[in-house]
Amino acid sequence: MDFLLNHCYKQRYTVTPEVYSHFQMCSKDLNPLHTDEEFARKKGFSGKVMYGNILNSFISHFIGESLPTKDVIIHSQSISFMNPVFMNENLDFEAVVSDLFEAVNVIQFKYKFIKPCGKIAAKGLIQIGIIV
């Protein structure tokens, strides 16, 4: 396997208006926290809160497009949302190879999305398999 324990992959993702609207069309989630600026402010946020599951689609991109092989399949992923993400915020994504199971071609990553202020937007675990 072309993976080394503790290797860290880094990538930058941004929830642009295009990403936001495409996800909204796909999910059909029109909850006012995500669509109504005034509603979100009344709830104590500085603006519309971006859909947390957009970050899951960034993980899909990372696994599908950024690894040294395309022969991959996601077995599982978990996500904990720690802090809200707002429109056009740059998120630094870091994924560390946390475990390798070579007998069954499995790799596990610990990942986090870091906001420009340094706070963690979300974190979790991903398990992938290498399709042989």
Binding site: F101, A103, V106
Partner: protein, 83 residues
């Protein structure tokens, strides 16, 4: 050694039940994948990952493809723990 086998099979039962998630699983040395509902090739990957994590050991692909039953899996776990 008998105690150790019994202890291992008890841990394996917990692991199988958590991964397969279809109720109680009966395991013995003679149990094969055909005897356990839900033990398919994809589940087997997750079982191996969980067993390796639980016992803090690593198998090789050559080892796992020759397992004929749970007994051979346990033999392999014991052999790994001893080395």
């Amino acid at each position: 050694m008998i105690m150790e086998r019994n202890q291992i099979i008890s841990w394996l039962k917990e692991i199988f039940e958590e991964i397969i998630d279809e109720g109680p699983v009966l395991l013995s040395d003679e149990t094969t994948a055909e005897d356990v509902d839900g033990w398919d090739s994809l589940t087997n990957i997750q079982l191996v990952v969980s067993i390796e994590k639980h016992f803090n050991i690593r198998f090789t692909s050559e080892e796992i493809i020759v397992w004929k039953n749970v007994g051979e899996m346990i033999d392999c776990i014991i052999s790994r723990k001893e080395n």
